[in-house]
């Protein structure tokens, strides 16, 4: 691929996406996470380790910030200067937001991370050269770099443990960037089954690992362009639109009574994850 070819494709991509004349068809995978249901229990995160062959880096490397948790729970406290956090803590499951105009995609020098037609920000491990530009450019800090060769020299999966590895997901070696993929391996299987039967993927046919584990059912995942999907209905009810960088409802005077919002929307990455604000009882 020549440089001019690359440039052409690249500017084409920036130019045409996201725009209306190339709609996501038939799929646009998206998520919504209800923070009022999320209890911060970490089940999603562990499920992600199990599904996606995430290495356990150990204490020393964790201390250096090398943790590989594609799904992490962020914990925030109120900043009102009170002695006790009497409204509890705020938990936020944070993973790749699968941005429609992903800041990571445009800076990858080799096109290892790019947009799939169904709206997932894919990561092609064997193409990645480890420049880490994408990580630097990600406002959510959800890209994780393999600083070590976890499968071999670090022996993260010693004998027997390696038998648990999911064969549908590549085990990443040193020098490769990785991140949440919306469990693309599960999506692929569902799309394959649907194709065999000459239909589209039904709502509820694909579950991400985090969604499947979540004890409070806080996570909804599905096809945003399917008007029957739960995720579509939720986005619609919350009046959150994928292609907007500021939602109309937020301009209401006195604030909206709807809970849906996207993190860092103002940076215009057009994330595919909608969060629903946590609610706290005003009577107590």
């Amino acid at each position: 691929m020549s440089v001019s070819n690359l440039l052409e494709n690249w500017s084409d991509f920036r130019h045409t996406h996201p725009v209306d004349d190339v709609p996501h068809n038939p799929y646009k995978w998206a998520m919504s996470i209800d923070l009022d249901a999320c209890s911060g229990c970490n089940a999603c995160s562990v499920a992600c380790y199990a599904e996606n062959n995430l290495p356990v880096v150990g204490k020393d490397k964790y201390a250096h910030g090398y943790a590989m948790h594609w799904m992490r729970i962020e914990r925030y406290w109120d900043e009102d200067g009170r002695d006790f956090p009497d409204q509890g803590a705020q938990f936020l499951p944070m993973m790749c937001q699968q941005c429609e105009a992903a800041p990571c995609e445009t800076v990858c020098p080799v096109g290892a991370t790019n947009h799939t037609p169904d709206g997932i920000n894919s990561q092609i491990y064997n193409r990645c050269i480890g420049s880490r530009y994408c990580e630097a450019n990600c406002p959510y800090k959800v890209r994780y770099f393999n600083w070590y060769d976890y499968p071999t020299t670090d022996n993260v999966w010693p004998a027997e443990m390696n038998q648990q590895l999911n064969p549908d997901v590549t085990v990443r070696g040193k020098g490769v960037m990785e991140k949440c993929t919306f469990c693309i391996q599960r999506v692929t299987v569902a799309k394959n089954n649907a194709k065999n039967e000459g239909r589209l993927v039904h709502d509820g046919e694909v579950w991400t690992a985090c969604q499947q584990a979540c004890p409070t059912g806080a996570i909804t995942f599905g096809n945003l362009v399917d008007p029957e999907s739960k995720v579509h209905k939720q986005w619609q009810a919350q009046q959150v639109e994928l292609a907007k960088d500021a939602q109309t409802k937020d301009k209401e005077e006195g604030g909206s009574e709807l809970r849906g919002y996207r993190i860092f929307e103002e940076l215009r990455p057009y994330p595919s994850v909608m969060y629903l604000e946590r609610v706290r009882e005003s009577a107590v």
Binding site: V110, T116, S122, N126, T170
Partner: protein, 224 residues
Amino acid sequence: MQRFLRLSVLLLGLFAAASSYAADAPPPALTTEDDLGPAIEQPIEFPHFRHAGDADKGGMQINCMYCHTYARRSLVAGIPPIQKCIGCHQSIESVRETPRIKKLFEYWDAKKAIPWKKVHDLPDYVRFSHERHIKRFIFQLNRPVQEVCGYCHGNVKEMTVARRSKLLSMGWCVSCHQQDHPVTDEGGTPIGNQAYWYSMHKPPVDASGIIKAKGPNDCSVCHK
């Protein structure tokens, strides 16, 4: 200025890519489509020509998928379980005492799996689906089985022990996926009632309403 920056980032990246490639092991020897993979010694010298070959050449014209039964429903074509071989061979007395069949029964009696060597190996980060290709070419386009299998596996029906005869590199795969294939009938009905892929670009529609599209060309379709 911004354009310059973008360009320089790109060039830098390319340079990095090139140098990291050069630092890797010696580049693979140049191969052409005619180059065969290595000859592989198998625990039993399985005569594909005898089973799948044409009748006039002494073959029995058995359908590939009679033995490689998983191909139409799974990612992998699979090696048949020994019980499959025995299923026929227990009643074929004529070859019962030949060395290969004796070996086969030795494995069966010992309930030991035969340690076949892999002939067509793909990198572990590649997801190749036999099922998809077979569904498409055999069941939807009604092409002959041996022809379809032969796209990637060559003329196995004339081989004894199978040997790789296609490159199976990414460029080789893409050479097919990049071609325009009809994905709908006249009038735009998808062939096989399948949704088709058109990635970022809507495919052109010809006068009769047939839509032609490239094969799936999205990285994440094949790279897991």
